[in-house]
Symmetry: D2
């Protein structure tokens, strides 16, 4: 009988990351995939994902609205809480063999907690990474709740192991988002123009000429300075003479400040040489990134996918602090002049060599092969790494 | 200015554990304690805790009902979710400097998550312990979310360290519940009779004669067999000729099965030599335990507090599996004959020597001294133990 | 194409009332019935309804836990809120043509509100009744939200009309619970003994001899006196010499007080001549009522079903105040002596003539015929009764 | 002792309506006002109300985030549910003597339901009105739950009476929003320019010259056509040669469609002669309306406040259908040519005579005097109007 797998998707970037796995699971006769979409994926102003998913021939089992408005930390917590309430109902109804979660979003934590209470084993993707941000807390806590771990890098594998997870439940599959990168390299759409298909607003970018990609997200822990920082990035861009595709921020606390900065920039500068998009299909988005001359901002795409592509990255501020990175990244403070100089340096440098740091493009195949062969179970008590140095006597009765 | 501390209490056993700390914080001029009570503490059939807390001269800031009925894993998850929604509102309103949480209840996780999203540092008590049950997942995940750790035992200290928490944020204070044990030893109420004050139902126990204490909780992960197991414990007791105080189970999934078994036993056996209580004030409860000849069941009290008292314990089944234990514990399967034999052995053996395994009775003082002197902050990225073996090159750019 | 109908059931008494309709809808080829069960129907200590429903050959589409514990008004409000959140998700997923709701429970209001926001028309059963209790508020508010009304009595029909509902959307079908009474009369099980099948606790009742039925529910608005009132009813019974089947109360705020009184009574009086049941299948329950010599308490069954059966009723207190009643009812205050005298009077009197006050036993057939022929739509603005005396000039522009 | 009054505010228009009452209550020594703000009032993109309220010298007791994103009917229902959960907690904590609610928003219903379950009497403002939209359901249901009614018009008074509310609990105070209109007339700021203070985006409007005010809200029941209809209104405006202040829509389901239409219009037409505002302080907003030559759209302000001011109104579509209106209103379909013609007609006509239809500007004083003198209680069973024609025999026992 097929193994039933629930996956809960709450943002378009999460979907982008995991898409190749979902497709591989859907195609596997040994897997019965049940997809639940929630959070920002259902909100039009963040780019409703429903149509994208359906055009990818994936079936949506449930749509669950959970996102509390308000652009403050308190609403993130409440969104997580509502998610937990409703995911519990959904998982209780579907009663899957296993839940597949990815990343470090608060909905990831909510889903993993719901599954834990329901005694449904959880496979967690992308555990063991470090970003230096508050997401680390959520990611490592999710690791401790999860039962199986498909990690991206060697360092991630070691960290999950050191967090005390059983070594035989950790798989280094690489990140599924690199699978898409691999396909994109194979596609070879070097002059792909997203403006025809997606519209967007602003100036028309000539994709046969040099352009950069900018994506700058708010920082939830510093949400009072998000407006100012977004302005700095915009001002840095204004000082350069290069075309850009600029992508709207995600929906973390602080997103409204970033959006406000963008809107004001547009009022004041008109379109300059920049075109703004809310979102693209993941494949198309990464194609645009792959063809760009530089990725700018604080998205993990600059660190992860761009290392595989060899696209130069200017990484701004602390959001990706401590994340493993390849040669392609220049790190800068959120300072106008630093940003300008770094972009200029990267444009002069051009492509870097490709790196397999985050995977070799086979993650989806590995995971789809792995799941039907797991003897799926809840993990037992923590008995390995964390107990090094704990003597037998401590585990048994003390004197 | 006083440090404002929110503590969220969701069960009477949690309250019992942390009571001396709350009292010490309330009395400290450097601390502004704000107490939130929730979950089972507000439900009459589990023994509404409001009056107990008020008679302990503690002020309750907020009462938040969160407990979804249903006696199934799904309702535990939903209770956690509702807690998260409402604790977020409460913490956002109170805006404390720090949140103090204890243990491994799902409400602990909800509170800690809420605090994390609100960027309020969390002090977690009783992290790093192992029970071998599903609670381990929640406890370790809570450790990863928390910012400071007051642990009970040496093994717990090592485990929190190995989970990658910064060594300078881990304090081995001992368990605050041992503080109460220390007071009880000082009180010397060796013939304390709870029946006068609390009533209870069943036979009258002569406290000047030998009696045992039984507390058997349901196992959420095996909730289908809870009825049968509770019957086994009751049958074992029926085979013995000893007085008993029997305490109603907590409200984990499965509690109704245990309650049903107890009710049927009472229908069939009448009162025998047993008196049933819903709950006692923690101090009185532990006095009864201290004066007993044997503690029977699967409560952690048998492992923790009884090791300090030297009271013999018969620990049934897996619920306390892997928890550190002293000489005073005999472990048995949930088998009628095994239980009978072990109780008889312990009654013959009598008192064990006292052990400081879980603390020396000064935890509350240590914590009340500690908090005002903390430079309270969110912890930074995980950089210590878990990164052993991670080379500098991995943290910086890869080649 | 079949009309899809969602019905949301939250208590066993609600299920009892509507059961014949559900069966008729399930059997109709023109109807696609989707049953959602929630609230107390999922809680074991109130008698989990799942098995009953399944043994009635009805399929359950969804189970949604919503009941917040706590035995206080605040938890009723919160239960309604959680219901609203989750019913919205459920109705959005099922996307029915119409929602069928019955009665005046808070879950009824939550379901009706959810349907209203989703623009799904609502058929409401049992509107327009008056009980004199706080339920009237909820019932009339539900009437104003609902789009179609199947009412039980002539007075109810007039009241719904006077509340301003369109006359062509009000149907006097009688109450579906009378359908069961009609079947019971046809069955003729005059010596039916529930003790074989359902167990229960207490004394064995000889059903070939005279017995009474007692069901006393808490009053949410007076929840501080519920314990005392339940004691009064129990004391009155203790003064009589007659067998009784006593049914556990519903789960309204205050239920724990009533339960506590019953438990204490049993501790003190032993079993006397009374047998206690948590719940019976509706059909069996009403058969027991039908065969009794007197119905005592404050259940609406004494007023409604007993009027059809002609069973004498002693109705205690205000809970059924203002509800339409037949000759069979004697109303008393919650006073020990009044209750005793009234029961003695009714036992002497014996059966009353049957009354069609609440229906003639054909409600289910009428409703199952009605629904497929409705041109289902949301009702328009209130334009009939309530506008009597509003001049044309007021509806158009004012001078 | 002062009467404690909780008022729960969920939108800026609701605040605008009730502001004079809140101020009068705050100033009354006999009243202890406790203000809770929620829903859209806490969301920056709808114009966070916190600062406005504080600059009005009103104290905010609690802020409760409830708004679920998603721009669909299902999210309105869920927002109501979360409101109900949290308002219950808040009212239980505050424990007021009475709750004061206004209007027909879903948060109004949630608050009123919460108060009803908690047995807190509710004073409802603006009951008994008819708009012909789905809001009627919610408004009349709220009336049935509320205990006291302060109504605006004579027709509203009759309708609340005909809905069966006790005549001695209905007060015709007029609408408090007319109090602001009265103050504005007294202020005489005939050349008030909001652009200095509030910024806004678009062209600069010369307020000494003729301008119109436009406010067009989405229709939740027709949310699929909201984009198209908003475009029609924008196109009609584009065909005229008149300055305009255009206000962003409220947050009903469909608001994103309207916003999208406005954004596209601005991309295509530039600023023309129009300036867009998110929101103004209520006093300033109504001053702008009062000084305008015509109010256009589907806001109730065109019907209510403008009747007092005598400002000509072009009312588009069904949103205000059946609402009582004065001479100043021309109703049109959402048709470009009809709108253009009607605006031209109104601009030619100029001011209408003032009308007291919705009040005379003394509502706040009346209500602040009324509350301390109420013998506050829950209303009894429905016994007046709705029982006309119910004979004594029906209320007593039936034969």
């Amino acid at each position: 009988m097929a193994t039933s797998v629930v996956s809960i998707i709450s943002t378009r970037s999460q979907y982008a990351r995991i898409k190749t796995v979902l497709t591989a699971l859907q195609e596997s006769p040994e897997i019965d995939l049940r997809l639940v979409i929630t959070g920002g994926t259902l909100v039009h102003r963040f780019g409703n994902l429903t149509e994208t998913i359906e055009s990818d021939d994936l079936e949506i089992e449930k749509k669950i609205h959970t996102l509390i408005e308000g652009d403050e930390p308190v609403t993130q917590a409440k969104t997580t809480g509502i998610g937990l309430v409703e995911f519990a109902t959904a998982l209780d109804e579907i009663d899957p063999d296993v839940v597949l979660m990815t990343g470090d979003r608060y909905e990831t934590m909510a889903s993993t907690l719901a599954a834990s209470y329901l005694n449904v084993p959880v496979i967690h993707l992308e555990g063991g990474e470090l970003t230096g941000s508050i997401d680390d807390k959520v990611r490592h806590a999710t690791t401790k709740l999860a039962d199986y771990h498909c990690v991206s890098t060697g360092r991630a594998e070691r960290i999950v192991d050191e967090l005390g997870e059983p070594a035989d439940r950790i798989y280094r599959t690489g990140c599924p988002s690199i699978d898409i990168c691999q396909q994109i390299e194979a596609d070879g759409r070097t002059n792909y123009d997203p403006q025809q298909e997606y519209g967007g607003v602003g100036s028309t970018v000539d994709v046969s000429d040099e352009y950069i990609v900018v994506q700058y997200h708010p920082l939830p822990t510093e949400y009072e300075t998000n407006y100012e920082k977004a302005r700095t990035v915009l001002d840095a861009y204004a000082a350069l003479d290069v075309q850009a595709f600029w992508f709207w921020p995600n929906m973390d606390a602080g997103t409204d400040q970033v959006s406000k900065a963008i809107r004001e920039f547009r009022e004041q500068n008109g379109s300059k040489q920049v075109r703004f998009f809310i979102n693209l299909d993941p494949h198309d988005y990464l194609t645009v990134v792959r063809n760009s001359s530089c990725m700018v901002g604080n998205s993990s795409v600059g660190i992860r996918e761009c290392s595989f592509f060899g696209v130069p990255t200017v990484n701004i501020g602390d959001r990706q602090h401590a994340r493993e990175r390849g040669q392609n990244v220049i790190d800068v403070e959120c300072d106008r002049d630093e940003i300008v100089t770094a972009i200029e340096t990267q444009l002069r440098h051009g492509r870097y060599p490709k790196s397999d740091l985050y995977g070799d493009g086979t993650a989806a195949d590995q995971i789809a092969t792995l799941i039907p062969n797991l003897d799926i179970s809840l993990k037992g008590p923590m008995t390995t790494t964390a107990l090094d140095g704990v003597t037998e006597g401590e585990l048994l009765n003390h004197e």
